[in-house]
């Protein structure tokens, strides 16, 4: 085929392209992934039963600020990074901000507590459930986000995959937070932060295979 023929074909009846398609597709994927994560949490684990209690009411929002902060900051970066060449103009350091903040708070909280309490604060009651639930609940959101990111034609598949995993981990952790009764900051920093980081690493490893276009 001559290149001229191809150009003629591509430029016959050129359609108008809708703006903000990348943002809308990614937004929809995160939203649907969030609903799926919430439903999975509701069906398998259930919302924590002590919700009216004061300790739950004060700690739950804090956890949600951490997880949704991660979602928002990472999504903003991903909308740029998911496009061709996005890796050259997207600063990604900002996505670590929620992690830095939660670790500082965890450190402060440990420092202000007697060391005999540290074990309990760090290990909590249900670390194993947390460790398993967040990555498992993240699978469906991750699949949705990968689908959306691939449509944006990323050219750095490792980084795009990592950010997709990070958003999915944040979405999953937000849903899990509604179930989880471990409220100490060191617990959140270690087990939430750790599992979300795990999702990020998994995303980076799977990116080159899943995101190729």
């Amino acid at each position: 085929m001559k290149t001229d023929e191809l150009i003629s074909m591509l430029s016959t009846n050129v359609e108008r392209v809708e703006r903000h398609q990348v943002m809308r597709t990614l937004g929809a994927a995160i939203l649907i992934g969030g609903v799926a994560a919430f439903v999975a949490m509701l069906l398998v684990l259930g919302v924590r039963t002590d919700l009216p209690k004061t300790s739950a009411v004060t700690h739950l929002p804090l956890k949600l600020v951490f997880t949704t902060g991660t979602i928002v900051l990472t999504s903003i970066a991903l909308i740029k990074l998911a496009r061709p060449g996005g890796e050259y103009r997207t600063p990604v350091a900002l996505v670590a901000l929620p992690f830095v903040v939660i670790m500082l708070l965890a450190g402060l909280s440990l420092a202000s507590a007697p060391s005999s309490h540290w074990d309990e604060m760090i290990i909590g009651d249900n670390w194993l459930v947390c460790l398993l639930s967040i990555p498992l609940i993240a699978i469906v959101p991750f699949a949705m986000i990968v689908w959306a990111v691939r449509r944006a034609a990323p050219t750095d598949l490792v980084r795009a995959g990592a950010l997709a995993g990070l958003v999915a981990g944040g979405v999953s952790a937000s849903a899990y937070a509604l179930h989880c009764t471990d409220d100490s900051l060191p617990f959140v920093a270690l087990w939430y932060g750790g599992t979300i980081a795990l999702c990020t690493i998994a995303g980076a490893a799977l990116g080159p295979r899943l995101l190729r276009w």
Partner: protein, 189 residues
């Protein structure tokens, strides 16, 4: 360089608004730059001009299919360059070449031109189209080759206008995927 960027970006933005002449001018100008870009890099590893033309066409197809991913608030050339580079790396990977053999600079080096207008790739458009599902093939034939309007194509095929548009878009994506698959098979077999 700044004037080339402004010129190409103007054409791209007009094309995104549905200006066919601007889109044609853009693809035509880009094809010359892509040809120079790929030829130089493939020559260094002893590959021929037809192979470069294959890549020019793959990149043009990708630029067309992915144009919704271009953000007009950003400069155009880095976006084009990223696609050109991505296609080159992908090509070298499937044709089992050492990536280190073909130096790929990050700096946008898309400003050389090669005006060999009649250049041909090894792809046979007819044969590629024949591999598409009939709805997509028909839509592309009517709208993109025979030049019927979407309305005319819709009444001829007995489907809605939006279905015609969807079939054209999906068909072009499928066409690009078919090329990638054949390349892979060619290498494996």
């Amino acid at each position: 360089m700044a004037t080339i960027e402004a010129e190409l970006k103007g054409l791209m933005v007009a094309g995104l608004d549905g200006d066919a002449a601007a889109h044609r001018a853009l693809l035509d100008k880009l094809s010359r730059r892509l040809r120079a870009f790929y030829k130089t890099r493939l020559e260094r590893i002893g590959r021929g001009a037809t192979e470069a033309e294959d890549l020019v066409q793959e990149a043009l197809l990708a630029i067309h299919i992915q144009r919704h991913t271009y953000d007009p608030t950003e400069p155009l050339t880095p976006w084009i360059y990223a696609i050109a580079r991505y296609k080159l790396i992908d090509h070298l990977r499937t044709t089992s070449s050492q990536l280190t053999d073909a130096p790929i600079e990050r700096a946008a080096e898309l400003f050389a031109q090669d005006d060999h207008v009649g250049a041909e790739s090894a792809y046979d458009l007819r044969r590629l189209l024949d591999q598409l599902p009939s709805k997509m093939r028909q839509a592309i034939q009517c709208v993109k080759i025979d030049g019927l309007s979407v309305i005319e194509a819709a009444s001829q095929c007995g489907i809605s206008e939006s279905a015609v548009k969807v079939n054209v878009h999906r068909g072009l994506k499928r066409l690009a995927a078919t090329i990638a698959r054949e390349k892979q098979r060619h290498e494996d077999g």
